[in-house]
């Protein structure tokens, strides 16, 4: 039911305006209304809020990392986890759903994505999942990633799209803006609070002093700062059992109408030419005992002209 700028999509579905103004006017989530009051003429499928959480699979943080001969991160398929930042995002998506109703769809792109992190996200409570998986995606840079996510999000008719603040393997923090530009929609980044009201989303973002707010019409993208909530939920036993039966689609580039030449290693403009382990020389002068310690630190600061 999402509406994107006319030039970018033809998906301009029925039921959008009624549903948005309905939620906006009453100020209550549709889920909490008695069934008799629900507008009978609306196609439920078409009118629920669709929240999509973009989730990257990253190598487990416990495993030592190295670059392969192709100068790319050597990945071991069994060892992927939900990008730690995206756990906060999934949590936020589920909390929004509890408030507003609708669906939470998990979207992941990868050359040969494993389904373990996806299963875990579904076990946390998401409604369904989509994997965009294609061998042509190997070596994709941030622009290619955004291109693919944007195409998948349009196909999903997402209303509210949530991203993490960055990945824990590459730390770009740039895929959300790239995706927003390809979709022609606003991005509210680094949110510490998200509020959907009627047809708009408002976020708060921490400033050096206090916070700022930003508001945009839906459909919109939001990236979530880790600071939003401290405790992403653990999947319950019931969640784990039901996750096995939840819908999980796999799409290829062809399903998204994308040309393989616009993604993967061939399309990337960045080149890695080498890598060296970091070895910092530290003095490691260790002294024991609190007595005299302050004086030694003070002398160190003066010796090294720090003060």
């Amino acid at each position: 039911m999402a509406r994107y700028p006319a030039t970018l999509t033809a998906a301009n579905k029925q039921g959008y305006n009624e549903e948005k103004s309905f939620r906006g006017n009453k100020g209550v989530p549709r889920q909490s209304l008695p069934p008799l009051l629900a507008p009978l003429s609306l196609d439920l499928e078409e009118s629920t809020l669709k929240i999509v959480v973009c989730m990257k699979e990253t190598p487990s943080t416990e495993v030592p990392k190295s670059l392969g001969a192709d100068m790319r991160l050597a990945r071991n398929p069994g060892d992927t986890i939900i990008n730690p930042f995206d756990e906060y995002t999934i949590e936020e998506g589920l909390r929004q759903q509890e408030k507003l109703g609708g669906d939470v769809v998990i979207l992941t792109m990868g050359p040969g994505a494993t389904t373990e992190p996806m299963r875990r996200a579904l076990a946390m409570g998401a409604t369904s999942g989509v994997l965009v998986s294609d061998t042509a995606l190997a070596g994709s840079d941030a622009v290619a990633t955004g291109r693919v996510l944007a195409a998948a999000l349009k196909k999903l008719s997402a209303d509210l799209v949530l991203f993490g603040q960055s990945s824990a393997d590459a730390y770009g923090g740039i895929v959300p803006a790239i995706t927003a530009e390809f979709m022609g929609v606003p991005l509210l980044s680094f949110a510490t609070k998200v509020e959907v009201e009627g047809n708009a989303v408002t976020i708060e973002r921490e400033a050096d002093v206090g916070y700022t707010k930003a508001t945009a019409p839906l459909p919109a993208l939001v990236s979530i700062a880790k600071a939003i909530n401290n405790n992403p939920r653990y999947p319950s036993m019931k969640g784990i059992m039901s996750a096995k039966k939840k819908p999980l689609d796999t799409w290829t580039l062809a399903d998204l109408g994308l040309d393989a030449g616009t993604v993967g290693t061939g399309a990337a403009k960045e080149r890695v030419t080498g890598a060296t382990p970091v070895a910092t020389q530290r003095r490691r002068e260790i002294i024991t005992g609190s007595a005299g310690a302050a004086q030694r630190i003070f002398d160190f600061l003066v010796e090294n002209k720090v003060i």
Partner: protein, 347 residues
């Protein structure tokens, strides 16, 4: 494509952020090595006033544009102006700050114009007519060498303190750019809010029912600070941060922390340093009651000097510090603060 190099400045509340001068200095240096022209671009409230400081870094030109529209909408107006300018003038590379705003502008430019973007760059030089960069990877365990292929303007997102700010130039020209149009479905900004209680004193407050210590704004920006006094779980609670703040004040530095400290809201979130928090590179980092987990190390290991205070002699922090003290921070910090205060009073 020309051999010109640009730096995009960042203004916040009309004030030029430090990183802008670092990027402008680097742009001047890279352009000189390539035989091109350098420019700094400043957009939004305060741009005109920032031109002199940007020009003093040695750039050939400063491009400015002031309009309420930049400060009313998130990044879209700045993207529009920069995209047009890049298409018209074809610079070889554009340096942007790896801040929230810098990333959002770079991402949109890359998608709109089909450009490559290298991020988290900590070093950039010219080699064989191309820009050769260094990017730390995997929590700083590895330095990756990166460059660009093909044509098209190169977008480079540089980390805070990656480059030194220089003061060489004078006689820069200032060019005023046309004002942007309001974006059709733009994200509107308002605020800042919650600044009422902000004082120049550190104080205790309550957040989500927990006590929290709030250092004053002048000691809250860890990314721009030359000295950081950082505390971990070993500080014992929010109240303990008053002592660290007093030391930071005496040293003219900022207060940092490990992640559990901000997870438990002993301090506001923007003090958190490490893999999932801020990356810092101060002259001096004093780690107090921080064990030194790799995820913490990732955010502070490029500090010039690291001093650790920890009561556990086997704490990992002692393997990557310049001076380590096995002792009780509660006794040492106030004594050190006094020594620094006395020294500063007499110098």
């Amino acid at each position: 494509m020309t051999n010109d190099i640009w730096a995009v400045a960042e203004l916040e509340g009309g004030k030029l952020k430090n990183i802008s001068l670092q990027l402008a200095s680097k742009a001047a240096q890279l352009a000189a090595a390539l035989g091109g022209q350098s420019a700094a671009v400043a957009l939004g409230q305060g741009a005109q006033a920032a031109a002199a400081a940007l020009g003093a870094t040695g750039v050939n030109a400063v491009l400015v544009s002031e309009s309420d529209i930049y400060d009313t909408y998130l990044v879209q107006p700045a993207t529009d102006v920069l995209a047009q300018l890049i298409q018209q003038r074809q610079p070889k590379a554009v340096l942007l700050p790896a801040t929230v705003t810098g990333r959002d502008v770079a991402g949109r430019l890359a998608a709109r114009l089909g450009l490559g973007v290298e991020y988290n760059v900590t070093s950039a030089d010219v080699a064989e007519g191309e820009i050769a960069m260094v990017v730390p990877a995997f929590g700083g365990q590895l330095n990756v060498n990166a460059t660009f292929a093909g044509d098209g303007t190169r977008l480079i997102l540089a980390r805070q303190n990656a480059f030194a700010a220089t003061k060489t130039g004078s006689g820069t020209t200032t060019e005023t750019l046309p004002a942007p149009a309001a974006p059709a479905n733009g994200a509107k900004i308002s605020g800042p809010f919650g600044t009422e209680g902000a004082t120049e004193e550190g104080h205790m407050t309550t957040v989500n029912g927990h006590p929290q210590y709030v250092p004053p704004p002048s000691r809250s920006n860890v990314e721009e600070a030359a000295i950081i006094v950082s505390g971990g779980r070993g500080v014992g609670g929010p109240e303990g941060f008053a002592d660290l703040d007093a030391l930071a004040q005496a040293l003219g530095g900022a207060v940092g922390s490990s992640r559990p400290v901000t997870d438990d809201e002993w301090l506001p979130h923007h003090h958190h340093i490490g893999q999932t928090g801020r990356t810092v590179k101060p002259e001096l980092y004093i780690a107090c009651g921080i064990s030194g987990a790799v995820q913490h190390q990732a955010g502070m290991q490029t500090s010039k000097y690291i001093i650790a205070i920890n009561k556990d002699k086997d704490a990992p922090i002692f393997t990557f510090c310049d001076l380590g003290v096995v002792g009780d921070l509660k006794a040492i910090i106030p004594e050190l603060t006094k020594l620094v205060q006395d020294y500063k009073a007499s110098h």
